[in-house]
């Protein structure tokens, strides 16, 4: 894996490429990670009631800015962390994917609430069953909707994650296959594997519907 990454990114050994940390790299890591985790600008992708809680967590009572999320960046090009708050229908999936592609590295993603994380109660024809089939997700915040404290805790977990990152393994953290941009993050096999034992509909196959042919009717009884 790391060999492939190194060859694809052009980083071969050297000061930051070596995977064994040195005094210099750990000190640089410390400074860089400190700066990054204390100036996370969220890109709010609020589509439903979770967005209200997200707004509440940015408002004066909870005040997300205390933790370095100084302002909501409504341009993905100036954002560090994507907060997907709310349900995402299939029609919105390419929009979400494009916003993620437009965000510059390094970037993180919070899936806020049950709908964004798993589809929630919306196990229907129009709804994405978890945004991790569209984009990579770092932190899932459960709840329907989560309280502002929950979202803040999720963002602090992102900060913890950043604290452990190292420039030496930069390519590994940030690797994205350019061919996969605009495609599902999970392939079909993985999407199937995501379906839980509780009967999540990602396991659905073509035969699970009432009928298979488009346009024909079921032969149920006509009620007079």
């Amino acid at each position: 894996m790391s060999e492939k990454l190194r060859s694809s990114t052009g980083i071969t050994g050297g000061l930051f490429g070596s995977e064994t940390p040195t005094f210099l790299t750990t000190k640089v890591d410390f400074v860089v990670n400190w700066a990054r985790r204390n100036s996370l600008w969220p890109m709010p992708f609020g589509t439903a009631c979770c967005a209200i809680e997200m707004m509440a967590s940015a408002a004066s009572n909870q005040d997300l800015a205390r933790f370095g999320m100084e302002r909501m960046a409504f341009s993905p090009r100036q954002a560090d962390v994507l907060i997907c708050a709310g349900r995402v229908p299939y029609k919105l999936a390419p929009v979400l994917r494009r916003i993620w592609d437009q965000m510059p590295q390094p970037k993180w993603c919070v899936s806020m609430g049950a709908c964004a994380s798993s589809g929630g109660v919306f196990d229907v024809y129009s709804m994405v069953q978890g945004i991790d089939t569209i984009i990579p997700v770092d932190v899932y915040v459960p709840g329907c909707p989560p309280r502002p404290e929950g979202l803040i805790y999720g963002l602090m977990m992102i900060q913890e994650k950043i604290r452990g990152e190292s420039l030496a393994r930069h390519a590994e953290h940030r690797f994205e296959d350019p061919d996969q941009a605009g495609h599902p993050q999970a392939d079909e096999k993985e999407v199937r594997a995501l379906s839980g034992p509780f009967g999540n509909s990602t396991r659905q196959d073509r035969t699970s519907g009432l009928i298979t042919e488009v346009g024909c009717r079921p032969s149920d009884q006509v009620i007079p």
Partner: protein, 217 residues
């Protein structure tokens, strides 16, 4: 009605709808039947082939004047029964509402468009087309409005449509991501200062629009 203890005058106002009686007198057999649902909601079933005639009459005649189209929707009761197209009308000047229904057999899901009467019918009919697959003859821009343009699983609000769609979730995800968000719009939607499409039908009857060059806008 008398069990509710209301006065006779109140009962009369509920049971007699002036437009329903007038429709029977004017159109005869084109009005198939009428009923009262939910206490005081008058419903008129109209021959689908004469729907624009009836709706236009209801809109224009001064005694009725249903100038506000609240909603167009459809109902599929399943079991092979016809799909009902529902027009919810309201007369602002007379403070009266009327529900007009037209039944379409599943073999011929086609009805005349109401866009020439009410411009607000445009998106409502697109939604009915999107969800039920009913095509509206004469609609200026009949295409899907809620589902993606490349949606190929059928019409979601039909009774025979499985809740989770016909494709696998992986297939649905890949289809959704394979489209460009710009596909939802026609190129003319992006043009600034474009003359709205819907104005055209109004102008055909009035004075002709001078053919100015586009830079006038």
């Amino acid at each position: 009605m008398s069990q509710t203890g209301k006065s006779n005058a109140a009962d009369l106002s509920v049971e007699v709808h002036p437009s329903v009686q007038a429709l029977h007198d004017w159109f005869g057999v084109a009005i198939i039947r009428d009923e009262i649902v939910a206490g005081d909601e008058h419903v008129v079933y109209v021959d689908a082939s004469r729907i624009t005639e009836v709706l236009g009459w209801l809109k224009e005649v001064p005694e009725h004047l249903y100038d506000y189209l609240s909603d167009i929707t459809a109902v599929d009761y399943g079991g092979g029964r016809p799909i009902q197209v529902v027009y919810q009308l309201f007369s602002i000047s007379h403070r009266r509402s009327l529900r007009v229904k037209a039944e379409l057999p599943l073999s011929a899901l086609e009805i005349d468009s109401a866009v020439p009467l009410w411009a607000s019918a445009n998106w409502l009919e697109r939604e009915v087309y999107d969800m039920f697959g009913i095509s509206f003859k004469g609609h200026p821009d009949l295409r899907r409005i809620l589902m993606p343009e490349n949606y190929a699983e059928g019409y979601p609000l039909r009774k025979d449509f499985p809740l989770r769609g016909r494709f696998t979730r992986a297939e649905q995800t890949q289809r959704a991501l394979s489209q460009e968000p710009e596909d939802y719009y026609i190129p003319a939607d992006f043009e600034c200062g474009r003359k709205p499409q819907l104005v055209q039908w109004q102008e055909t009857g009035g004075e002709p629009e001078p053919d100015g060059d586009p830079s006038d806008h």
